[in-house]
Symmetry: C2
DNA sequence: CTTGTTAACTTAACACCGTTAAGTAAATCG
DNA sequence: CGATTTACTTAACGGTGTTAAGTTAACAAG
């Protein structure tokens, strides 16, 4: 059935084209200014065709949100090679900030915007992409604890807190709340704050 | 000119009614599900009347966002009385989280949603409400530093980082990204993470 | 007391939005 | 060849923010 396969391929192609169109639009206009009608127009199909390939708008942006995690994992990939868990932890936080700064719109979709989360099974607490990225952090922090860092602290809650630190930095930046910091420091504020996070984690340990 | 005053009063009244209508709607449906038409209908005026009292939708939500800061300041008010700066710092972080949990929709508007920031002068870096709240934190951290805490750290960047920590916790919660933390810990996660932040700040100091 | 003006508000419309029901035209199958 | 399925579109529903033009009532001046 080569003919059936060709059809299958074609369907895949169109799904891919929709996704690419959506990706291009949201990359330079942001999520809020990308509509189904825009996406359809860009690939010369009617808006309703989109609905043959995606359940709804949330579903499209869930797919892009998944892409975002693939990109984030590329930033994380080589960090598995860092043997010392505390060094790895520092590297993770830097890679996270780097990813966020270089892929602001993806970051927005992955960790701020509500839309893609609506595509997840309501009530079910599964969020595979998030889980995977978070578990890398949890494992690293567990190794730190095993080596004597963060003594007596709860691994998972500490992991969440460390994540919250870097997420806080990035999301204040993305949503334009950094005006409160005096103008001079606004450049590279995210990186400076990230260094501060690392400094805090280091001091916690060194001074025991 | 008592007659002119009465008119003035009436105008004030309607502006207030619009705001109250907007407030009530967004408090139980959230910002994303509150429209100008909803607001108008609730007070039995046509949608276009709104535009006689507010420049646009962003302008309305900027007003509500300002209200949010008044409420936040009430949470902060008594904390000025805490003499020890480090204790005050801890209390600020707790009050901040408390405010966020009890006023989720306001928090969203104040620190996450883009809309109210659009009402600010573009290019100008002024954000008075944010400045005032942030300066309270900066002053407290400066006092901490004067007392020997956080030695050698940059006051403003540390302040921003501490803010980012608590904001990170709250915004991950509000935008539903806490699924990654195992079910048992999801209750009071924000408070647990906040305690972790406090623990981190304490350890930094105590172990010198 | 009438006229002209202004203030407060509405109607109607524009240009969008996500989404669905119904229809069409071509390809495939029996 | 006729029936059915596939892939897509047209038209529509009920919403959105916003603006131009129109109405109606209150007021001021002659």
């Amino acid at each position: 059935m080569t003919v059936a396969k060709r059809k299958e391929k074609h369907k895949e192609d169109l799904r891919g084209k929709i996704l690419q169109s959506a990706r291009e639009l949201f990359m330079d206009r942001g999520f809020e200014h990308t509509s189904i009608r825009n996406i359809a127009e860009k690939i010369d199909y009617s808006p309703t065709t989109i609905y043959l390939y995606f359940k709804d708008k949330d579903d499209i942006f869930y797919a892009l949100h998944q892409e975002g995690f693939i990109i984030l994992n590329q930033y994380f990939k080589s960090l598995g090679l860092v043997e010392d868990p505390f060094e790895r932890l520092k590297a993770i936080s830097r890679a996270y900030i780097q990813f966020a700064i270089e892929n602001g719109e993806y970051y927005d979709l992955m960790f701020i915007v509500r839309s893609p989360m609506n595509a997840l099974d309501k009530e079910s607490n599964e969020w595979t992409e998030g889980d995977n990225a978070f578990n890398f952090l949890v494992a690293t922090i567990q190794e730190c604890i095993d080596k004597g860092y963060f003594q007596g602290m709860h691994t998972e809650i500490l992991s969440f807190t460390v994540w919250a630190m870097v997420h806080g930095i990035v999301s204040l930046e993305i949503r334009n709340r950094c005006k409160v910091v005096s103008a001079l420091n606004q450049e590279n504020l995210a990186f400076k704050a990230n260094n501060m996070v690392i400094e805090i984690l280091e001091r916690m340990h060194n001074k025991k």
